[in-house]
């Protein structure tokens, strides 16, 4: 175990997988000479050479398109999109090609591709560079969508993503790179894709979240615990395929559910989780499910307005009071 940042954990996963399998290579904007916009691949160019760490033009469609070709041809590309907001430029490649090739060719080809990208707000990057459209990608069958909330999960999930035979859309949160945590050194440390995880046990209320909002939820749970409210916090980790079992089991125990996501409420993760809980655990609910999400506005640049629009610890606490019928 080492106590390291999420940035180091992701970097470690990439490095270990590149040493393990020579088919693994990295491509993207500024990943080589500059060392990555978030410095995840700093030093990789010297370590692995130009052939395996490739700087690309500023053309997201090309990055993903070329990576798909490489994946079909037998390589294991890790394509980096500087932010998730730019993934829209590669939308056709991602959702129409990567997600569907295996199906369209009747299983004759596979597309073992990882798209690493950075999402989330909170860094005053304004409306077009601060979005959390994770659910947009999770909407498409054929794509796996992963969004870790701790350094250990980031490492284990990225390694699993690289070894996966299908395209994985891997969303890192811009404000989590400095988050520290215990991370196993083991080169075979893997976290399976599609398995939700109980990050904190509790009996009074279930809080479901992932990525940055996992940390917000854990802080809220800590605060609630001082008032004698024990929240169970579940980390989805993967949005597709979505593992509902721990959520359903938890709701059967607590009878109360709050879903916390950074993206907008409409058609969001909270809506999906609430619907599935009603399908599978309706008779266990004691209060309407509450969703905590971003205000439905383009995210403001102004720091205070931005923080007001993003879900905060107090918003989670208030939602928990609501489902507990407390004033």
């Amino acid at each position: 175990m080492a106590y390291i940042t999420m940035r180091e954990a992701i970097s470690q996963a990439l490095r270990e997988e590149m040493y393990r399998d020579e088919r693994v290579f990295i491509m993207g904007e500024e990943v080589g000479v500059w060392g990555g916009t978030y410095a995840v691949t700093r030093g990789f160019l010297d370590e692995f050479g130009e052939k395996r760490v490739r700087d690309t033009p500023i053309a997201e469609g090309v990055i993903v398109g070329a990576a798909i070709g490489a994946a079909i041809a037998g390589l294991r590309p890790v394509a980096e999109l500087m932010t998730i907001n730019f993934a829209f430029l590669a939308m056709d490649q991602i959702v129409n090609h990567a997600a569907k090739l295996h199906y369209m060719f009747n299983g004759q080809i596979r597309c073992p591709l990882v798209i690493r990208t950075v999402g989330g707000g909170g860094r005053q990057l304004a409306a077009t560079h601060s979005q959390s459209p994770d659910v947009v990608f999770a909407h498409f069958p054929g794509l796996k969508v992963v969004a870790p909330g701790t350094p250990a999960d980031a490492k284990g999930l990225l390694k699993s993503a690289i070894r996966d035979e299908d395209p994985v859309f891997f969303i890192e949160h811009a404000t989590l790179y400095q988050l520290r945590g215990e991370v196993p050194d083991d080169e075979e440390y893997l976290v399976p894709i599609g398995v939700s995880d109980v990050k904190r046990e509790g009996k009074d209320v279930t809080i479901v979240s992932y990525s940055k909002m996992l940390q917000t939820s854990l802080q809220a749970a800590e605060q609630l615990s001082k008032e004698g409210i024990e929240a169970e916090v579940i980390d989805l980790r993967t949005l597709r395929p979505l593992d509902m079992l721990p959520v359903v089991q938890s709701v059967q125990k607590t009878n109360r559910l709050v879903v916390v996501e950074e993206g907008w409420r409409s058609y969001g993760v909270g809506a999906e989780i609430a619907a599935r809980v009603m399908e599978r655990a309706f008779d266990y609910l004691d209060a309407p499910v509450r969703r905590v999400a971003q205000l439905e506005v383009p995210l403001p640049y102004n720091r205070r307005l931005e923080q007001m629009a993003l879900p905060q610890v107090e918003d989670v606490v208030r939602a928990v009071y609501d489902v507990l019928y407390r004033k």
């Binding site: 009878n255 309706f282 008779d283 266990y284 609910l285 004691d286 209060a287 019928y325």
Partner: protein, 417 residues
Amino acid sequence: MAELLTMPKMGFDMAEGTLVQWVKKEGDTLSEGDVVAIIETDKANVEVTSFRSGVLRKILVESGTVVPVGKPIAIIGSADEDIQSLLQAQEGMVPAKGEAEVVSEAEVPPTAGIGAVPEIEVGRVLASPVARRMASELGIDLTQVRGTGPGGRITKADIEAFVRESAREVPQPVVTPPPAMPPQPSVGVEYAVELVTPIRKTISRRMTESKQQAPHFYITMEVDMEAAVELRRQLNALLPEEEKISINDMVIKAAAIALRQYPRLNASLAGDEIHLYRRVNIGIAVALDSGLITVVVKDCDQKPLSRIAVEARAMITRAREGRMQAEDIVGSTFTISNLGMYGVEDFAAIINPPQAAILAVGAVRRVPVVNDAGELVAGTRMKMTISADHRITDGAEAALFLQALKAVLEQPMRLLL
């Protein structure tokens, strides 16, 4: 100004109530909240309280009368005011004794005097899904539960509170026998009146339902308890007081083992389907002052005997102290009723619906038996009787189940495997 006291609507489906007893008489002074009369609905006896202070000027219906909801039962006013106009307005409207004038829901005024229900209840009872599920499992009538959630929504906590209160409520004898109350049990014989508590009502409804719907059959078998008693003695010598194992704990564990072999005794009938439960959750009937309640030891097939003993003891204690938790009493798939501690040799129990069967266990007795050598010797025996639902299982299967149960109890080391 004098006002009318009307028959209150106590629940959305109540159309009429019987005026059981006038607590106050004409001319009595009333404070707001004073109990004026006792009425009986189809669910409970309820006190009618005065909505204002004043004097009970006129009683409009005799006790024993069935009165539609919303109809006036009395006039309350000040001591000397003229109530003639109110009285005249009521003429011809007061139903005669014994007549039940049925009014449709639409004719019922939305707020009927005192005890008027909150608006929310007019449509349906608001309850959270988990509260509804618990109420249905426990046979609780939701209209009897007070909801504390938004808009009066009944929550899990309300059901738990209701269960605790029901268990605590001990029938309160009413000292003075009422002058007249139909139906009269026997003419000329005095009696005390005991109000039927919610828990009593639940027992009454569920047991009636069981006997009416489930065709019961009964099979009795005698078990040699010599080895079991000896094993228990040895185990308890090792265990602290609070973990000691009872004969009943051993019967629970043995039944769980036998139920695994005969799953149709651990089942329910649901329309055209028999639901065979995957879990073996055994309910233990516990006698309380107020009635009977069943606490449930979950997954008895999975748990060691020692854990069953500890859990059962904790739940029984909680039940007796009125502190039971909702989890203690839901989810049973089979029930055991033991009257051995009362010296009962053998009895037959009524099935706890919707379960397939219930096991009635008698006392462990020292009795004369004939041994294999044909000699009369002292033996240790216990009788148990299974009551089973013939819609789900048959005599042979129930007998095989008893045989399996007997086999485990007679080779009690199997309880420890």
